[in-house]
């Protein structure tokens, strides 16, 4: 039986049971827990102080996270959910699955932000990223972009959180003029991708002049690749923010550990990991400051952010406007 050793080899690849310790399960998105994300370092740092086993369960992205949570309902093994953004928190709060986090203390966000249910751990500004050598004079606003022949690739707001962010960005900046802006942008958009990865991959392959990403994206290229050819274009309207938050579940199997984790999330040990793993700004700037490379990034003069409720009620009409303008 030659298949027997093969079958045995396959079975041993299944994960082993962990030692007997209280388990804190944190539901998050995929890129947080991946080898290159903050997850592994956060796990080591928290387990050093909690006498517990921190286990991340990961799903695709923020929107998927919310869908998963709604599927699991009160039966979820998770005590903490980490990775929603403010475009989704109204919907998340409406599920009734989140308990007040009870954490005091502010944060270093550029706009005032406080929510009884959701605690921010990092944030960033959406921006269009370009290659300085290929595009010496990038557009300075959406109107400038619409009037140019610069080609961009964006994400679909129906399947990706950055895509939704762009939708809210244009809405927050232009209000009732948003449909007009989208119609003018239509000939600049070479395509719309399902997620961030496809769009960024296409930009890196030279298909587009600019890609919707974050002001912090160039920091990855500087710090990890020693490549300073990428930059984010500052837009005169201001830049919409993505604030990433975590919350504690009402039915948390480990409520005390959940509290401890949320408190830990605001600490230096957690926050210092964020910039070079999640490539976002930490919610609390570390005492030692941000890593080298972040000083080269643009700092938008105006930060745009809708409240959770505004974002929730703006989404549907903004999506319809977007579909109408781009389907023509």
């Amino acid at each position: 039986m030659r298949t027997l050793p093969l079958a045995l080899a396959c079975i041993t690849l299944a994960p082993m049971a962990e030692a007997q310790m209280p388990v804190l399960n944190v539901l998050t998105y995929d890129s947080f827990t991946s080898e290159w994300g903050p997850g592994p370092a956060v796990e080591v740092a928290f387990e050093a102080v909690c006498a517990c086993d921190l286990v991340f369960s990961a799903v695709g992205d923020g929107a998927e996270l919310l869908a998963r949570l709604q599927l699991e309902g009160p039966n979820s093994e998770a005590s903490v959910v980490l990775g929603l953004d403010t475009g989704l928190t109204a919907q998340a709060a409406a599920t009734g699955l989140f308990a007040p986090h009870g954490q005091a203390g502010g944060n270093d966000l550029p706009v005032p932000f406080a929510d009884p249910l959701f605690l921010p751990y990092d944030w960033g500004w959406f921006a269009f990223v370009y290659d300085k050598a290929k595009l010496p004079t990038p557009p300075k606003s959406f109107e400038d972009l619409a009037g140019s022949d610069v080609k961009i690739v964006i994400q679909d707001p129906r399947s990706s959180t950055p895509g939704l962010g762009l939708l809210l960005w244009v809405k927050a900046a232009y209000g009732d003029r948003a449909p007009e802006i989208w119609a003018a942008l239509a000939d600049n958009i070479i395509t719309v991708t399902p997620g961030w990865s496809e769009a960024y991959g296409m930009f890196m392959a030279g298909e587009a002049d600019m890609v919707l990403s974050y002001t912090t994206s160039p920091a990855y290229h500087v710090i990890a690749e020693g490549d300073d050819s990428k930059a984010a274009a500052p837009f005169a309207e201001g830049h919409y923010m993505q604030v990433e938050v975590a919350g504690k579940l009402t039915h948390a199997p480990q409520p005390a550990l959940a509290d401890q984790f949320l408190a830990f999330m605001g600490s230096e040990a957690f926050q210092a990991i964020i910039p070079t793993t999640n490539w976002m700004y930490p919610a609390h700037t570390p005492a030692a400051g941000l890593p080298d490379g972040f000083d080269q990034l643009i700092t938008p003069a105006t930060s745009l952010l809708m409240t959770a409720d505004e974002a929730q009620s703006a989404r549907r009409p903004a999506l319809d406007e977007w579909l109408t303008a781009l389907s023509r």
Partner: protein, 512 residues
């Protein structure tokens, strides 16, 4: 006795497949009240049908001259080329899209050459891009399926034709066209239904929300609206379209009846005259069309291939295990259903076609809802992935086996019955040798598809159980686009190696 056992096991399998496909719809709360489609859903439906129909039609029309040329010409590298035809189909979607863009994109090779001559850029984004990508994926598959049809024509037919002084046109009319009539509708059906559920390719190359497919509407309903009944309704719509296409293909398709041969090898005669250069052109164009994007994928991935992080290897091993397990299940099921279908019944074929139209997202979500109260989803990641990969790849295996199982039954059923062969004896002496070629090809395709599929694992996978496709996605999400390209190349090479090994086994076994 053997017949009854076969029918019973096929019926059991078909019931299991219907249950696996329909139970998730129930779990999502499918209801028939107010079964109307919104304007957006209607336009998604229109675009879906248009792109799937065009993709299927063009793939099949282009496949015929290529398959004919491959069937009647012998040249250096023919075997390699035939094996490579399986490669586009098994590429992970995002990798294939980047490969196609490297060739046909705005900054691609084709437009680079055009620019050298001062010619305008040919835009890829739009319906043409979607169809181009689908033809790239599926035309080679169609070539393989049609080529099997040619290879299954008994050599005696061609010798008889030669003895009667048939011209190539006569051969085409009396021998080849009946075979095409039997094979093409099924081939077109498979491609149509595959393209029906396309989502990432359609959106990315379609150039914007005009290119919205039903599958994207499902995605939106599940992810952003959390409107489960609506997702279930759209998933049912996909099944209905698949069943309709199936009914249509069955009406058009006419089984070829050549009578049995002695199983001698030897394809159709190679005609001289203008057909020589025509065949050479068909083969060259097809080879270049397939090879260029593959080359782009290889060039992107090669530099980083040897510096991949070590966890890539455990993910690769896990993917291999999933693929082999899915292949074993899928092949047994496909063989049983194909042999049952050969006895002239319709339901085994429908059961083996319907999974094609399944939205893996709906399937995964439904199973999640059903299983979650009882078992930890993360502990089920790999078993569920194996089961769903087996179900989703079953249609391909079935479609490849079915035509030859049918002629096997027509040609040898009475003989084996009169010899009183047992079920085992039939399998050993009749089925296995006669079906080795399609079995090998089908197993290779199923194994490679199961390596690449990602639809479901992402929904269940915990921290420790990443498969290689999931890892490619994670690398891309972490800005590691080069490493992702390398991991994707590794995935393609492993998939292709699996495919090649099974396919070679089949071709060898059939030749002896």
């Amino acid at each position: 006795m053997a017949d009854r056992a076969l029918t019973l096991s096929a019926a059991g399998l078909a019931a299991a497949i219907f249950l696996l496909l329909l139970a998730p719809l129930g779990a999502l709360g499918l209801s028939f009240q107010g079964f109307t489609l919104s304007a957006a859903e209607l336009s998604a439906l229109r675009f879906t049908l248009l792109q799937a129909g065009l993709s299927a039609l063009i793939s099949v029309v282009l496949a015929v001259p290529v398959a004919r040329a491959l069937a009647r010409r012998r040249f250096f590298g023919r075997g390699v080329l035939i094996s490579t035809l399986g490669a586009p189909f098994i590429l992970p979607v995002i990798v294939a899209v980047l490969g196609l863009l490297a060739v046909f994109g705005r900054a691609g090779w084709v437009n680079g050459v055009l620019a050298q001559f001062g010619l305008p850029v040919i835009p890829i984004y739009g319906l043409q891009g979607v169809v181009l990508a689908h033809v790239f994926f599926n035309m080679p598959l169609a070539v393989r399926m049609v080529l099997h049809g040619w290879e299954a024509i008994p050599a005696e037919r061609f010798r008889l034709a030669a003895g009667l002084g048939f011209t190539p046109a006569d051969i085409s009319r009396h021998i080849e066209r009946p075979m095409l009539r039997a094979v093409l509708p099924g081939t077109a059906l498979v491609i149509f239904v595959i393209c029906l559920t396309s989502f990432a390719v359609a959106l990315t190359l379609g150039g914007g929300p005009r290119a919205t497919t039903v599958e994207l509407a499902i995605y939106q309903a599940l992810r952003f609206e959390f409107d489960l009944p609506s997702a279930a309704r759209l998933a049912l719509l996909q099944f209905a379209l698949c069943a309709l296409a199936y009914a249509l293909a069955t009406r058009i398709s006419l089984p070829a009846s050549f009578g049995a041969g002695q199983g001698r090898a030897g394809g159709p005669p190679a005609p001289k005259g203008w057909r020589g250069p025509f065949d050479a052109a068909a083969i060259t164009l097809a080879a270049v069309f397939i090879a260029l994007p593959l080359l782009a994928v290889a060039l992107a991935g090669l530099p980083g291939l040897f510096s991949l992080p070590s966890l890539v290897w455990s993910a690769a091993a896990r993917s291999l295990c999933v693929a082999l397990a899915s292949t074993a299940i899928s092949m047994v099921a496909a063989l049983v259903l194909a042999l049952a279908a050969a006895r002239g019944r319709g339901w085994p074929a429908l059961a083996a076609t319907l999974p094609l139209a399944a939205s893996s997202l709906v399937l995964g979500t439904g199973l999640f809802i059903l299983l979650q109260p009882y078992i930890r989803p993360a502990s089920l990641a790999l078993p569920v992935t194996v089961a769903i990969n087996a179900a989703l790849s079953l249609p391909f295996a079935f479609r490849i086996l079915a035509p030859e199982a049918r002629s096997l039954y027509a040609d040898y059923h009475r003989l084996s019955a009169s010899l009183g062969l047992t079920a085992w004896g039939r399998a050993r002496w009749v089925v296995l040798p006669r079906l080795a070629r399609p079995l090998g090809f089908a197993a290779g395709l199923v194994a490679a598809l199961s390596m690449g599929d990602l639809g479901v694992i992402a929904l269940f996978a915990g921290e420790a159980e990443a498969t290689l496709p999931l890892l490619v996605q994670r690398l891309m999400g972490a800005y590691r686009i080069e490493a992702a390209a390398s991991a994707a190349l590794l995935l393609v090479m492993l998939s292709f190696a699996l495919f090649w090994a099974f396919d070679q086994w089949g071709r060898r076994y059939a030749a002896t």
